[in-house]
């Protein structure tokens, strides 16, 4: 299958493929927009995702050096009452962990099988002796299990890409996987972040995993992007009516229980989503 010319492999499209090859085909090859609801309680879901995006922005502003008093004032009147709690949790628990050269909201990529793998990091710290620490802020209610996080496409891809392309941040030619740690910090849970150090074995496994995955996608022809057998995946899939896999969107509780992450649905207040004004 020939992918679109400007296609990048990212954590969300790889996850889509792993959930259901047909969803990947509809979304990224046919570019089919299917405007059904993802979750039934759409307003709460939207609000939750938007609050998450606002919180990410607040941290970004903090890391850029905007005076904290200004950010406090913004957090205090945020329409979502959780945000001020998250903000206080952050201020109490995180800043002392942020030693080093900061790369905020930075993107890196690496080639694989003539394709491009891309990751967009909330924060990468380059610390003494070239330790590289990835931080990912999560605002979802649940503090996920370490094993689950280790298996997550995001964890695997972000650490792998940093090992391959992190030299552009450190100014060195090579980065060894042992230099890398990925930290997930859950805003509603003020404890320490869940820390996932990388190593050579995991790096090799990730490389094989992504190569196999991409090769599989490239080898498939149109008819071979099959629908998933796991119909639970269809509950939180926009294409469910197109596939005759149900009528109503799954509920928000199930969404949480499924350990899905609202941020994976790219529902952020990205500038690029705001149509550019042609002036």
């Amino acid at each position: 299958m020939k992918l679109p010319e400007d296609f990048d492999f990212t954590q969300s499209n790889l996850k889509d493929y792993l959930d259901c090859p047909y969803r990947f085909y509809l979304k990224y090859i046919l570019h089919t927009k299917w405007p059904a609801l993802l979750v039934d309680d759409a307003l709460v879901f939207e609000e939750r995702s938007k609050a998450g995006a606002r919180f990410h922005r607040l941290i970004q502003q903090y890391l850029l050096g905007i005076p904290q008093s200004r950010l406090d004032a913004i957090a205090e009147i945020d329409p979502n009452p959780d945000l001020i709690k998250w903000w206080e949790n952050f201020l109490e628990n995180v800043p002392h962990l942020l030693e080093g050269q900061r790369y905020v909201e930075t993107s890196l990529s690496t080639p694989m099988l003539n394709q491009r793998l891309v990751a967009k990091y909330d924060l990468v710290l380059v610390q003494d002796q070239s330790q590289l620490v990835i931080f990912d802020w999560k605002t979802s209610g649940k503090r996920q299990r370490k094993e689950w996080l280790l298996d997550r496409v995001q964890t695997r891809l972000y650490r792998y890409i940093l090992a391959r392309a992190g030299g552009s941040l450190t100014g060195t030619a090579e980065i060894s996987p042992q230099q890398i740690t990925m930290n997930y910090w859950f805003a509603p849970h003020p404890e320490a972040p869940i820390s996932l150090p990388y190593n050579q074995k995991a790096f090799q496994a990730d490389q094989t995993f992504f190569e196999n995955c991409i090769q599989e996608i490239l080898d498939r022809n149109e008819e071979n992007f099959f629908r998933t057998d796991d119909e639970r995946k269809c509950r939180y899939c926009l294409y469910r009516s197109h596939c005759d896999r149900g009528v109503n969107a799954g509920d928000l509780q199930g969404f949480d229980a499924f350990e899905l992450d609202a941020e994976d649905f790219e529902f952020d207040l990205d500038f690029d989503q705001i149509q550019e004004i042609e002036f």
Partner: protein, 721 residues
């Protein structure tokens, strides 16, 4: 993965570089270069190779900034990174002035909210799209028109009034003068009746009202984004430090199409970069009506370490080059200035320009001639993708007639946009009509015929005749009861005609709508998501498996969502239903006027039909161009914009001067010269001139362009003989 589409102008490691391009690429990357040359001289391609040179030198891509006047112009650079041999460790950043301003205001909002005078500085800013800005303008100006009689001497469509006031605000921002001076500047240059001066006062009044309203409500239209950025962030050490740390290397393309404020910013910013390449197209400046300023672009030369010239157009064949010389001469003669070039060869011009032996009287005759010539070219092995048909604006009727004719002849063709706007798409109409039924409290029940059309779209197996029959019996506009009756409530003979199966589907849809009607009002976008997902895209309904309809509905929902996000609080505090307001604005043509984007891969090897300016900006050379309606003044005349003026509001305009007919004529010559030379620079072999005695609107076709062509031919013939 490499794209043939981009390789002509973009990065291509297998195509040899020209001597000029080699010369640039031999330069040291630690310097700042101003690269100038005519269109088609390989500047952008050189720019993409320069980008590769930076990456191969180990510069992290995230430190490289590509700056263009329009996002699509950075595509050649973005796409270069997708070439197999390029191993870039990350994407490069592309920005436009608007993108830069919006990003910075969003990021540094806590620093500017108070100082810039926003009503709620601790609340998030609300960035307006063109569509939502237009809505707010309508919201404010409409009552002023209706109650206070503003613009009462004008007879243009109201949406054009709103658009032109916004245009003025944007011009003030990108040219760099206070918006409070818009009316004064327009008035000072006006010669004519006094009524126009009142109109300019009204323009200023509305601009003032709009700006105050935006400040009060944290709304930022394009003009306010640019102004806040310039005044509060560009001068802020924190923002400047952020920018200069983030971006170390700069590539600017099409600088001549950008605005004076952009040039000011780049001039100040240049010393912070380790390297820069600024690319300037000598004969262009097509976006002057959007504030582009060639002179201020050229002045960036002085801030660079070295100027590099690309002299030769690599695209045009000899015949076309001769026509270019001829046009420059002919315009010089018309202006009464010395002729810049020797006379072109008559034979070469004659071969490069083709026109009918005799002009047809009406435009369908012209269309038929054009289609026949295209068929002829294709039968002589010219690939359809090497043919483009251009007109100054390409009105729908012309595009439609030509497309039909080409289809009849079996000639593949494509157009720069589909012919229907979002609002006119049947899928949009269907969704909004059904919403009006579900939200009975809006008291905007649809007309019976519109409902019938909507049901035809919505229910699989229902035709218009039976839909009309169904709505005649089942639809009752009532204030209290739900307006759609159950299927069983209509007479049995009608039920039989409509059929039981359709009746079942109708009932299911009806019950679903009634249930929504009884519940608390859902935001319109979520309502449409549900209607689409739970009913209309299910088996038995019209959008099941209709991927195109899905795309249209998605675009509609996105437009409504942006509307809700932009308005939410304002309208809720006014107790207006956002959904109802949206539909009203659609009906008034204020919003949903954009065209539905299609992801269908455009057939590259097809004849392209496009407005001339769109083609120019797309930077794509072809073998053959057809220029339609060459007798029409639209090739050089300004649009009729009674509330604004691109020249008077430009930076080069001398305050206190009057804009008179001589200025108008000089502007026409300049527009025509730029446009025609720009097109010729993108043409390899031939230009066909399509013309009829009367144009599409029935006006006589005797404009400047045709006179210039005749003039070239006469002089060339005289010289040759």
């Amino acid at each position: 993965m490499p794209s043939s589409k981009f390789n002509l102008f973009g990065y291509n490691s297998t195509m040899p570089l020209t001597a000029d391009q080699e010369k640039l690429l031999k330069q040291d990357i630690k310097s700042k270069y101003f690269l100038q040359g005519p269109a088609g001289s390989g500047k952008t391609r050189a720019g993409t190779h320069w980008l590769m040179k930076l990456i191969q030198a180990g510069i992290p891509p995230h430190q490289i900034l590509i700056f263009t006047p329009q996002r699509t112009l950075s595509l050649a650079y973005q796409n270069a990174l997708y070439q197999e041999e390029v191993q870039a460790p990350g994407p490069v950043n592309s920005l436009t002035l608007g993108g830069l301003a919006r990003r910075m205001v969003d990021l540094f909002w806590p620093l500017v909210g108070v100082d810039a005078g926003f009503g709620a500085p601790n609340k998030a800013p609300n960035f307006l799209t063109l569509e939502t800005a237009q809505y707010y303008m309508a919201h404010l100006v409409q009552p002023l028109i209706e109650e206070k009689g503003l613009f009462d001497s004008l007879t243009i469509n109201r949406n054009r009034i709103y658009a032109q006031i916004l245009d003025n605000l944007n011009k003030a921002a990108v040219v760099g003068f206070p918006y409070e001076e818009i009316g004064g500047r327009l008035k000072s240059a006006w010669v004519g009746d006094i009524e126009q001066l009142h109109i300019y006062d009204d323009v200023q009044f509305c601009a003032d009202q709009f700006r105050s309203f935006c400040l009060e409500n944290n709304l930022l239209d394009f003009s306010l984004q640019v102004e806040v950025f310039l005044k509060y962030l560009w001068t802020s050490p924190m923002c400047r430090a952020y920018l200069s740390q983030s971006y170390r290397h700069l590539i600017v393309d099409n600088i001549e199409e950008d605005t004076p404020v952009t040039h000011d910013i780049l001039k100040e910013w240049l010393p912070d970069f380790e390297s820069a390449l600024i690319i300037f197209d000598q004969d262009a400046g097509y976006r002057s009506f959007l504030g582009a300023d060639v002179e201020s672009a050229r002045s960036l030369k002085d801030s660079c370490d070295k100027i590099i010239n690309f002299d030769k157009n690599l695209v045009s064949g000899d015949g076309i080059r001769q026509v270019t010389l001829g046009i420059n001469n002919a315009i010089a003669r018309l202006k009464g200035t010395p002729q810049p070039n020797p006379e072109p060869s008559f034979e070469a011009v004659r071969t490069a320009i083709v026109s009918p032996a005799e002009n047809p009287k009406y435009f369908p005759g012209m269309v038929a001639w054009v289609a026949d010539q295209i068929a002829n070219l294709i039968s002589n092995d010219v690939p359809p993708g090497e043919i483009v048909v251009l007109a100054p604006f390409m009105p729908d009727v012309l595009r439609f007639t030509l497309t039909n004719r080409l289809d009849e002849l079996g000639i593949p063709n494509r157009s720069h946009r589909p012919s229907r706007s979002l609002r006119d798409e049947p899928a949009t109409q269907t969704m909004l009509t059904l919403a009006q039924i579900a939200f009975q409290s809006w008291e905007t029940l649809p007309e019976r015929i519109n409902l019938a059309y909507a049901l035809v779209q919505a229910i699989d197996g229902l035709d218009l005749v039976r839909a009309q029959l169904l709505t005649a019996y089942a639809y009752k506009k009532s204030e209290s009861d739900f307006p759609l009756q159950p299927f069983e409530a209509i007479p049995p003979r009608v039920r039989d005609r409509v059929t039981f199966r359709v009746g079942e589907r109708y009932d299911h849809l009806r019950n679903w709508l009634e249930k929504v009607n009884e519940q608390a009002e859902l935001p319109l976008d979520f309502f449409l998501n549900k209607l689409f997902g739970e009913v209309l895209s299910q088996p038995g309904y019209g959008f099941h498996d209709q991927l195109d309809s899905g795309n249209t509905v998605a675009m509609l929902i996105e437009s409504i969502q942006k509307f809700r996000w932009a308005f939410g609080e304002q309208l809720i505090s006014d107790e207006i239903s956002i959904g109802k307001e949206y539909i009203q604005m659609v009906n008034e043509g204020v919003i949903a006027a954009q065209y539905v984007q299609s992801w269908e891969t455009a057939d590259e090897d097809a004849v392209l039909l496009s407005p001339a300016y769109t083609f120019l900006i797309s930077n794509r050379p072809v073998d053959v161009q057809f220029w339609l309606d060459v007798g029409s003044p639209s090739w050089y005349q300004r649009l009729n914009q009674p509330l604004t003026h691109p020249y008077v509001l430009s930076r080069t305009w001398e305050h206190g001067e009057f804009w008179d007919s001589e200025d108008e004529l000089a502007a026409s010559y300049q527009t025509l010269q730029r446009l025609s030379i720009g097109l010729l620079n993108r043409c390899r072999k031939k230009v066909y001139l399509g013309m009829s005695d009367l144009d599409v609107r029935g006006y006589e076709n005797r404009g400047l362009l045709i006179r210039i062509v005749q003039n070239i031919l006469q002089h060339a013939r005289r010289e040759t003989s």
